[in-house]
Assembly symmetry: C2
Homo-oligomer: 791 residues x 2
Amino acid sequence: MGSSFEERKDNKNDFEDYFQIDEWRIVEKGFSPDKNRFAESVMSLGNGHMGIRGNFEEHYSGDSLQGTYIAGVYYPDKTVVGWWKIGYPEYYAKVPNAADFIGIDVEIGGERLDLAQWHLEDFKRILNMQKGVLRREFTAASPEKDNRIEVSVERFLSLARREVAAISYSITPLEKPVDISFSPHIDGNIRNEDANYDEIFWEEVDRGVHSGGGQLTLRTKKSEFNVATAMRSELSGLQVEEGTGIEREPIERKKFIAENIQVSAERGQEINLTKYIGVTTDRDYKKERTAARAEDRVREAASCGYDGLLDEHVGEWQEIWRDNDIKIEGDKKAQQGIRFNIFHLNQTYTGHDPRLNIGPKGFTGERYGGATYWDTEAYCLPFYLNSKDDEIARNLLLYRYHHLDKARENADKLGLDGALYPMVTMNGEECHNEWEITFEEIHRNAAIVYAIYNYIRHTGDRQYLADYGFEVIAAVARFWSDRAHYNPRRDKYMIIGVTGPNEYENNVHNNWYTNRMAVWCLNYAFDVKNYLEKEHPERSEKLLSRLELTEEELERWRDITEKMYLPRWQEREIFEQQDGYRDKKLDKVSDLDAEDLPLNQNWSWDKILRSPYVKQADVLQGLYFLSDQYDRETKKKNFDFYEPRTVHESSLSPCIHAVIAAEIGYPHKAYELYLRTARLDLENVNRDTEDGLHITSMAGTWMAVVEGFAGKKAEGGELSISPMLPESWDSYQFHLNFQNSLLQVSISESGIDVELIGGDPLTLTIYEDQHRITRDSPAEVPLSGGEKRNG
Amino acid sequence: MGSSFEERKDNKNDFEDYFQIDEWRIVEKGFSPDKNRFAESVMSLGNGHMGIRGNFEEHYSGDSLQGTYIAGVYYPDKTVVGWWKIGYPEYYAKVPNAADFIGIDVEIGGERLDLAQWHLEDFKRILNMQKGVLRREFTAASPEKDNRIEVSVERFLSLARREVAAISYSITPLEKPVDISFSPHIDGNIRNEDANYDEIFWEEVDRGVHSGGGQLTLRTKKSEFNVATAMRSELSGLQVEEGTGIEREPIERKKFIAENIQVSAERGQEINLTKYIGVTTDRDYKKERTAARAEDRVREAASCGYDGLLDEHVGEWQEIWRDNDIKIEGDKKAQQGIRFNIFHLNQTYTGHDPRLNIGPKGFTGERYGGATYWDTEAYCLPFYLNSKDDEIARNLLLYRYHHLDKARENADKLGLDGALYPMVTMNGEECHNEWEITFEEIHRNAAIVYAIYNYIRHTGDRQYLADYGFEVIAAVARFWSDRAHYNPRRDKYMIIGVTGPNEYENNVHNNWYTNRMAVWCLNYAFDVKNYLEKEHPERSEKLLSRLELTEEELERWRDITEKMYLPRWQEREIFEQQDGYRDKKLDKVSDLDAEDLPLNQNWSWDKILRSPYVKQADVLQGLYFLSDQYDRETKKKNFDFYEPRTVHESSLSPCIHAVIAAEIGYPHKAYELYLRTARLDLENVNRDTEDGLHITSMAGTWMAVVEGFAGKKAEGGELSISPMLPESWDSYQFHLNFQNSLLQVSISESGIDVELIGGDPLTLTIYEDQHRITRDSPAEVPLSGGEKRNG
């Protein structure tokens, strides 16, 4: 009957070895047109301000998902719904595919270069993660084979100048002298494949083109974001004096500008075109200046030159890797996997703009729309908190603070007090429209508060509570207070009609996780209130009065914390996921046939709902968040019951399970779970990488290593680690940013080595013992249990 | 806080007195353009084969919902859904608005008659329910007031010749002689307002027009139903010899045919145009003959003449009223209301074609699509069973029998054995696409079986079980057996993840009604199996072998009947609607503010779901169906608990409550509930009559009178009545068709009088006592409790 995950995986994955194993690079050797969309996703570049998929610069008539995305720019796509329910949003905010700015069409001796038509003799597409550069190299012969050329292309989106991209495109004729025509262009005639009603999202505002470059300014319909894209092209490698013997002709039509550049090349002569691109939006400039600023950016870029820009950019990546890298020795696949995740997290969100957030697909595809899910607070924050400056995490918190009024409106729409943060959002307004999610998956509200708590204990920045935090915490507490009802028959408060993190149950009563986190939020609200009253009495008084927090309301909050109903299954000594879960037919995943998986592609929805199968950590999510409040035995009992019933059909699920498995002494299980996401996109495990990468789950992989294998915790604001070493690894090493200290943690068979590499000395607990770590005194501790921990 | 239904109703209903009170007619006196759609719905005509809304024949530029519908003809409109779930249907079968055949454009002295532009001096639109005729009379002056005419129009859809309609259109110039131009036409350029993607549903197949008439044949796209509409027009009232002095000009264009007929009329001279219409479909004829048959129909009709056709038609209605009428004395409003309901039920479904069924809006609007809901079995069948020949009800049963294979496919799609009848269907395939309904509202399956049981006990036609019934019963039993699971912890079977009749709860566990009816179905399957084995051993053996019913399977069925979990709330001595219902905040409807109602127009869906409010009879639906298995006390306790929490936001709800209220001695409550649907559409109580009439709930009104006030039951195949007399009525009278007897039941203050007016003598229980009723010995019994029963 049953089959293990590994068996199923082996059965069908022909993507597993598609890319070569390399510690710093993703190498595609040989081109597979049928895997092009998949490779395009993997080869995406981003710099927080914009992103592009791994599309080709030159015309390509084969299958491709063209993708250019600008952070914070969205289109309100009219909602599609079969059966309207009161409270649904009118639109779904989507990241629109923006003007294609990488395009450089090429003709060789009058024949258009098109890798779908030309004969490829070799082909390499290489993502260099160390440098943040995408490179292609190939030799191609034209369809009639009368032209044969060698091409190498390199591009990057500058991390040093976020509005700048640069492309270096080189062609060498191999057989004979030829005329080469380059047509660098900006093409605004693009669409979204996932548009609800096949609408065109953009209209033209302005364009201009001249010898040397030009600009195209588009505006999104309805939301009216102006995005200006400018370009400038330079040729080099000519034997004649620069600028002579070249014909340049500007071309323009609706939503399109190009420059046609003709040049003759000798056999063996490498001709290089450098295209500088500037992309600006009216999110940063006045509408009327946006285009001029884009032209400024390309002018500055060109004067710096390709190599200069590249140096700056690589320098930024060096800094990122210095702080963010996880080094793994003895397992190149694992090393590549974790770096791939860290690389894309850094490409997606840099924290430079508190109006931005982390979309589930980042800048790598169209799916899901919106920018922000609870993924940010629940799964991504730990990565940014532990490996970035505090300001980055703080910006993620401020994003929600700025949306507080909209969250209040959202609660009001459902007839509730306080604030309900949206399930999916771009600007603070709810975008989702499935009642069981939009209206019922309200646990998301707790994650917003938990993120504040998590931020404070990692950074010690309690001032944040007075300035911003308490307003959010109080509004969420008020929501829980109204949403819970008192059941006099049982003398308990209950929260009914919810969907928990496990979305394979809908409209349940008393989801343990939701109820538990609601109580936690209310208790935390009291903690913070007490702190403010003590440390910021004036601010506190002002806040309480502005929020109109009455004694009566606080009394109800207190009452709820004392009398919340938390379902338990006494005989099994576990928490019950929700009322009635125990009445299901309690099969395990191992009882399933392999062909039933994934359930969401094989079973009708009702069959999934009435099954015992858990989509993602639910009770265990609560035990993860509130880890310090539950002992190991409790975690073990709940893990032993729920994990065998969890299908992990959310990419956010395995990491939480991995962390708990590591803690309760299941190292093999932890490693198995870690593997499910570590190379999720590199090996196209879910068969949907072509739609874009699973950006938010990448942070979960980081979590599985640092919080799972290394057992890092921050309970009560005290840092501790409790490392194990996965069997197949020789060692691993990472940095930890904690409060005012920066640590380097190295774990190998020979022991644990923790060094202070920046900031203040601190006390670190390793396993059970406290160690004072200063610049001069690192901690050196033997690995507990050694390999047995993974046995 | 609270407010009664009556108060709320008084607050806002400006439709209440729109039509004049008349025992046999619906009279609209004076024209209100803003209520035109409402009046058009009320004034709909139908004859089982086709139907038309009360639209005007002549051009009307004001607001109107043009509606012409042909029974059994549907268009598969591509599904709209926000979030696709496995198992959803690809399309929603919709009744397409068909070619408008009533159209007769009129010009008077070159000015087009248009009631939105002309000055109306008086206006009457009268639906004569006794005769099944719609009549309009008005005097109108042209915009410049230089023409003034008197118009009277009459039309009907023949009950005697179902493919024929006839219109008599008369004009009398009032001021001066004028040229009159008639343009009778057939217009296929129509759309559905509720088309999902604004598609045009029809394409032209053929057309032809000549002096005297023509035909237009259209075909629905995708489903490819051919519908031919032919017309023929005759003038009369001319002083010159017929046919002279008249100019006739055929006109045709794409999907449109017309004839322009010009004639001069003296002041005071009434000119009459009679338009005969024939409508045929390839459901009844070969595609290539459909048009010719439509032309045959108009030729035959014309040779019969308008008056001859009308006589035939009125004769049919006389027969219907003889058998179907409910006479109420002392309350004209009630009389009009009940006749309106009976009239439309007879217009919608005549039982002549087992491929047809009863759409929730009949032929009066576009909404809901599909033709068949569980409404048919649960609410409509009793009306047809008790007041029509047995064959009519039998055809309703056969409709489902013919869809059995599709119901098997439907269950298989959800991964289940046996058969699951669709929530909404036209041809047996599921059309609905809300997971909580489509996949979870599975109780509908029980109603299909219950209808068979109900049919047998009313007709005694047990042969039906052998021929058709058992196959359906066994397939449904098999579904229940697979859908229930055994819970070893409680040693009970459970059915989880369902939506009960109360659609204001979704995805609940152990809905009492669903579980109870599942057990009932399984028990009935055994009863029928035993009967067949005894009375039809050969057929029985064949059937059991064909259905592959093993002893093992039957053992499971038996086990389920013995161990089904049926939630009870012990302390309150009631059945619990579903697991966890008692944990809700158990407010009553009287706790609501008036502006909260109806909830489905004012509350977000999650608020409705977590409220205690019941949309329609749920536990009480079970007590109604299985009335003989529960005592009065049980009914009373459950009614007392659930009724005050029921918002009756389905028009199907009050009738069930009325029947039970009457039985348990709440006559005032019964009458109040009866009133909620008796004039539902006549007074536009739900503010949606403009979309069409609530056809299926009309049968509920009949039920409230006969099963409620008169207390008619058929328990164990024995007829009984237990009448009360509503306070404001002097008397009421109806017929009952039961097994081989036809009874006339009269109830007044002076007593109950039951006469045998057809068929065999029978034994009837009145209150507690049995009466043998023959042709010569009617029963005469005093009214029990007299007026006190309504006190």
